[in-house]
Symmetry: C2
Subunit: 84 residues, 2 copies
């Protein structure tokens, strides 16, 4: 595997799983104080479009990374609405 | 411009600017309560690697989008450390 592919894969893994600690923290604390709802509306819309982009160009890594990110970021947005 | 390029550009713009409302909110409230520091450490590391990836493959949209995202997300991480 070429070096840029490895860098890209590690980058995608990090940005994708990064939302998991936020999901766990918000769920445990039952509070989303300090989290910007507008940020997560923009971010989830963007990731949904990345997912559409991945489906249009039929690129599996783009599809998988953005599907997982969308699930995690949407969960934060849901918690932000419910727990605020 | 083909449809997938437009979708990709809108997606990149949304996920990049999404962190701006969080920067403004945290700066105004002088509090980062509820924000996961570990999320932003993972996310900033991932975006830094995306930036390196963009520089290696020399793709200007990848470089610009991730440079802006890195500045915004690092600012949130800085506020999270300073204001906590």
């Amino acid at each position: 595997m070429v070096i840029e592919t490895i860098i890209g894969l590690v980058a995608a893994t990090l940005t994708t799983i990064s939302f998991l600690p936020q999901v766990i923290k918000t769920w445990k604390e039952k509070s989303a104080k300090g989290i910007s709802q507008f940020m997560y509306i923009l971010f989830c819309s963007g990731v949904l479009l990345w997912l559409v982009y991945g489906l249009v160009i039929f690129d599996l890594p783009v599809i998988v990374a953005n599907a997982v990110t969308l699930i995690l970021a949407s969960t934060v947005l849901y918690f932000r609405i419910v727990y605020h």
